[in-house]
């Protein structure tokens, strides 16, 4: 039997038994045709490709007002949901009559989801809670509205001078333009379990060497009931990147030097990476598998003595419904090492609020951004356990109300945010640079290659992109 297809009055017959060689002349011609077609198709489609969607907010756009019946749609970092949904939404309703519709995205997918929302043409969201090291990619994608004129026109009403100098420019400024206002001023400090330190007769460490000694002693003496250190080493910039950069600042290093060149093979960088490798045996197993949730849970349940993490841990640790160590913890500035004697933190993560270029309610979005980042709201969310927000304004950092809720952590928080924290790269492509760095660090921690090899590879990758 064979099948006959009528083809415009003509036809062909396909025999039921077809014998072909694996790579016939006909197959070769098909492949060549496919490749040729692709070569033609690429430039043609490229000519129809995407274009920038840059948009600027007018200087006379509102910074306040009534927005009854207007629902603003927000795409936010998942750990920030409580701050928007439970704290800000009711207050915004009372202040403006408007509503908030909050959608959460995991922190490692936040930037891509924001880009896709605009680039795909969906344009569902008005306001983006954006991660500052993704700022360059968001601007490159035309996803964030240029707020320069609006901020310049309303600098007094917005109280621009009240933002912490250490974070205002890093979070909002790119290429001379501003794309948002700071919302969450993230830095790390070192938290410790005071009960474990007392039990094993050790002091909170001031240097990374002391940190190693404390970690080793507690892990050894506790015989499995507790670990001296919790090292967050999950292979994403937000986790392992923070752990490395905390040590880098401690040893006095930088990610890029004053000339903008990568400095990942400096003595400080090597010391920082070596520290991550050396502490692993006495840390909560296994650092490369420890992410944000595992680290927090281990510290709050009393299983680990030392944890360098975000400052809002102070509120979680003191909350008896979430913490078994309420009242039995402390915090100090990040340790120092090598020749460096001055503690310094880094802007580990950190978020701003910007307006999507596809926003359907840009005026209401602008008013909301100004309102949500004002001192009163910043104090409110910074003082709420589980909101995951830290101060972005000097008035909040110095407020007694904030000091009262973060208790013992207030000293190192003020020292960190009030100082000169290290700023991560934020130009277009920065997330890739940081991913390259943590990929290489993970190989060193896993023992697949040396610290020097890892940092050398990361340096090469950064040099290709930054120079």
């Amino acid at each position: 039997m064979s099948f006959y297809l009528a083809l415009g009055g003509r036809g062909f017959i396909a025999s039921e038994v077809v014998t072909t060689s694996p790579f016939s002349r006909r197959r070769a011609l098909q492949l060549i045709g496919l490749a040729g077609g692709a070569a033609v198709l690429g430039p043609v489609l490229a000519a129809c490709g995407s274009s920038d969607g840059a948009r600027a907010l007018a200087g006379n756009a509102p910074v306040s007002g009534r927005f009854d019946g207007v629902t603003l749609k927000l795409l936010v970092n998942q750990p920030h949901v409580t701050s928007f949904r439970d704290v800000l939404a009711p207050a915004w309703k009372a202040a403006s009559g408007g509503d908030l519709d909050v959608t959460a995205a995991p922190y490692d997918q936040l930037t891509s989801k924001q880009i896709l929302d605009v680039q795909s043409g969906t344009g569902e969201f008005d306001v983006f809670d954006y991660f500052y090291f993704g700022l360059g990619d968001l601007v490159d994608a035309g996803a964030l509205t240029d707020l320069t004129a609006w901020i310049d026109t309303n600098k007094d009403k917005i109280d621009v001078a009240g933002f912490l100098p250490s974070i205002y420019d890093p979070y909002t400024l790119l290429g001379g333009k501003r794309y948002g206002l700071p919302y969450d001023g993230d830095v790390h400090i070192l938290f410790y379990n005071a009960e474990l330190l007392d039990r094993y007769k050790v002091e909170p460490p001031k240097t990374w060497d002391e940190y190693d000694a404390v970690s080793a002693k507690i892990t050894t003496d506790a015989k499995g009931s507790a670990y001296g250190a919790i090292v967050s080493g999950q292979q994403v910039p937000m986790i392992l990147g923070c752990s490395f950069i905390n040590r880098l600042t401690g040893y006095g290093g930088e990610l890029v030097d004053a000339n903008g060149k990568p400095a990942l093979t400096s003595d400080a960088a090597i010391a920082a990476a070596n520290h991550l490798v050396a502490v692993a045996p006495s840390a909560l197993p296994t650092p490369l598998q420890i992410g944000f949730d595992q680290a927090n849970q281990a510290f709050l349940s009393g299983q680990g003595a030392l944890l360098d993490t975000w400052t809002d841990m102070a509120l979680r640790a003191e909350d008896p419904t979430a913490s078994k160590i309420a009242g039995r913890w402390g915090a100090v500035s990040l340790p120092v090492g090598g020749t460096n004697k001055t503690p310094r933190t880094a802007l580990d993560a950190g978020f701003g609020l910007g307006i999507s270029t596809a926003a359907k309610n840009p005026d209401a979005a602008a008013a909301f951004v100004a309102w949500a980042t004002a001192a009163a709201q910043n104090l409110s969310v910074s003082s709420t356990a589980g909101a995951g927000i830290d101060p972005v304004r000097g008035a909040v950092l110095g407020a007694d109300g904030y000091a009262k809720v973060v208790t013992k952590a207030i000293g190192p928080i003020r020292e960190g945010l009030g100082g000169r924290p290290l700023v991560w790269p934020k130009e277009a492509g920065a997330p890739k640079l940081l991913q390259d760095l943590v990929d290489q660090l993970a190989l060193a921690i896993a023992g697949s290659q040396t610290v020097e090899q890892s940092l050398g590879n990361a340096q090469s990758s950064w040099e290709k992109s930054l120079t």
């Binding site: 009528a6 083809l7 036809g11 997918q109 994608a141 910039p237 296994t286």
Partner: protein, 290 residues
């Protein structure tokens, strides 16, 4: 005998092919030969630059071999285990029964849930196996802590998840073996193994090869377990190709051009291996037929 079919009857199929095969494939090829980011697809013609970038990626290139090893090991394990379990089930009777239904549970459970469940079980502190590890003197042991360990754990979970698929198909295939042939073999004095190799296997071999090809493709496609359990680590130990491509396109660099090139390269590797398996199958079946 031949049969005339009007051409227009083929239009739905042609439209489907254009929509679901030709257009996506053409777009993928176009992405692969242009500078394309998540924000700006098809920005400008790039020639072979994306392929060069793909082949210089520290994560992607080793992932091709890693994915192949994973898929082959998974195929051997799931197919052989599946057949063994199916034979044991068949020995109990012709009904799949409660035991069979329970065996299918991993197959019908969402992969993300499987990943989360195993991650919680394997957590070194507070995990379901933590107490057991302490009891046998390896307290704090984390099977996901080393590269080899994490790879084997992912492989074991995958085998646990996909063996029921092989059981299901093999059980059905065993049903086609005619009882009188088995009876004849028994009367002729053939033992269990001899009966299996000379009577049962020839009847089910085509099905088993089909199961093997399907399991091979499924093994190449593992993604969700990696995302949930190891995120490709430690290092790149569990970075299989689908995860490496996802990382390139949607995390970190948002480099859709290179991700598309990686997808084409990966498809070529999977196609080559599948072709080898299919050719081996044809040769084996032909040999058995002769």
């Amino acid at each position: 005998m031949s049969r005339r079919v009007p051409l227009w009857l083929a239009l739905p199929a042609v439209a489907g092919l254009l929509l679901f095969l030709v257009y996506p494939t053409g777009y993928l090829i176009a992405l692969a030969i242009t500078h394309s980011s998540l924000a700006h697809p098809l920005r400008s013609f790039s020639g072979a630059a994306n392929f060069s970038s793909a082949l210089s990626s520290a994560a992607f290139v080793p992932s091709l071999a890693r994915s192949t090893v994973f898929a082959v090991l998974a195929t051997v394990a799931t197919t052989s285990l599946g057949l063994t379990l199916a034979v044991l089930l068949r020995a109990r009777g012709t009904k799949f029964g409660v035991v069979g239904a329970l065996l299918l549970l991993p197959l019908v459970t969402a992969p993300v849930l499987i990943g989360v469940a195993w991650k919680l079980l394997l957590a070194p502190v507070g995990g379901g196996f933590a107490e057991a590890f302490w009891a046998i003197g390896v307290g704090g042991f984390n099977p996901l802590g080393s590269g080899v360990g994490a790879f084997l754990v992912i492989l074991l979970i995958h085998v646990w998840q996909w063996t029921p698929f092989a059981v299901l198909i093999s059980f059905a295939a065993l049903g086609v073996v005619r009882p009188e042939l088995l009876e004849s073999a028994r009367i002729d004095g053939a033992g269990t193994w001899r009966t299996f190799t000379t009577v049962v296997w020839p009847a089910i071999a085509p099905t088993q090869w089909a199961v093997a090809v399907l399991e091979l493709v499924i093994g190449y496609k593992v993604f969700d377990l990696i995302v949930v359990i190891t995120a490709g680590g430690p290092g790149f130990a569990t970075t299989l190709s689908p995860y490496a491509i996802y990382q390139t396109g949607l995390r970190g660099s948002f480099d859709m051009g290179t991700a598309a090139a990686q997808t084409l390269i990966f498809a070529a590797v999977v196609g080559a291996v599948a072709t080898i398996v299919t050719a081996t199958r044809a040769r084996a079946l032909k040999a058995e037929g002769s």
